[in-house]
Amino acid sequence: MDYSMAGGSSVSFRGRLVFSDRLEFRKLVDRVLRTDTSEPIRLDLRTLDFIDSAGLGMLLVVREEAEKRHRKVTLTVAPGQVKQLLELSRFQTMFTMES
């Protein structure tokens, strides 16, 4: 998993988000959630090539933890494997999704 941050609430991911990334992802989310703002958390997945069921679960963790802090999560996606899995899992009903 590679990522870059813009401001305290926006993260762009590259490469793969899979089971083995869970600890690094957890630290990243913790850092994002610590920012003292009510801004929505924006996760840009357009350059993410591959996600697995654990990666989907990790996005749900962001949502759960953000909700505890009264923050929304927006996912930005592009056509491909990631978008296919998000749609199969009906993430559009749980997140704000942008293209």
Binding site: F19, G57, L88, S89, M94
Partner: protein, 209 residues
Amino acid sequence: MTSHCPAGLRPWIASSGEPLEAALAPPTVICVEQEAGAPAPEAAAGIAPGAPWLSLSLITATAYHVPVAHAFVTALDTRLHLHLPERPRIETALHEAVVNAILHGNLGLPSPTGNGFAAIDGLERQLQDRLRNDDIRQRRVFVGAHWSAVCVSVCVGDEGMGYDAGAVAADPLTATSFPNGRGRSLIGCLSDGVEVVEDGRCTWLEFRR
């Protein structure tokens, strides 16, 4: 390294730094992880020479760290020239099956419980505990595939306790929290056929072409 091995059998040492993709490249038919200092593996029985087949055997501790499905499907792509929708479909389903074989098969972990960070943290504690057990970390994960013009069949096996596939319900794809058997649902959704055999220790996935 391979000169004393039967044709098509390729030992691979994880610590050598050689990418798994390279070890799986043609003319490899059977790739077996060889632990450093251990004797070279012998050919598995029952594979007809020249058959359109590819197989891989890794220890759990390695399979946990290496992108197994990506390497294996890259190797299949080299041989089959998979078309675009086919490759991510096979890779995603295979990846889920391999993760299941590692976590629920060889490591014997149940699906995590709890929500949010607590689910990740709980899973991590159990996982590290199992990986510290030498007998468990040495268990093998097997991946195999054979193919024709109309079908690709892939199997994933483990050396765990097995399970009763008929008695374990997969969580729906639409589960809303981290703990999930969502992987099994994804496998079913992306494959054209799924068969669990050997008392839950081997899963065959079929993909029509």
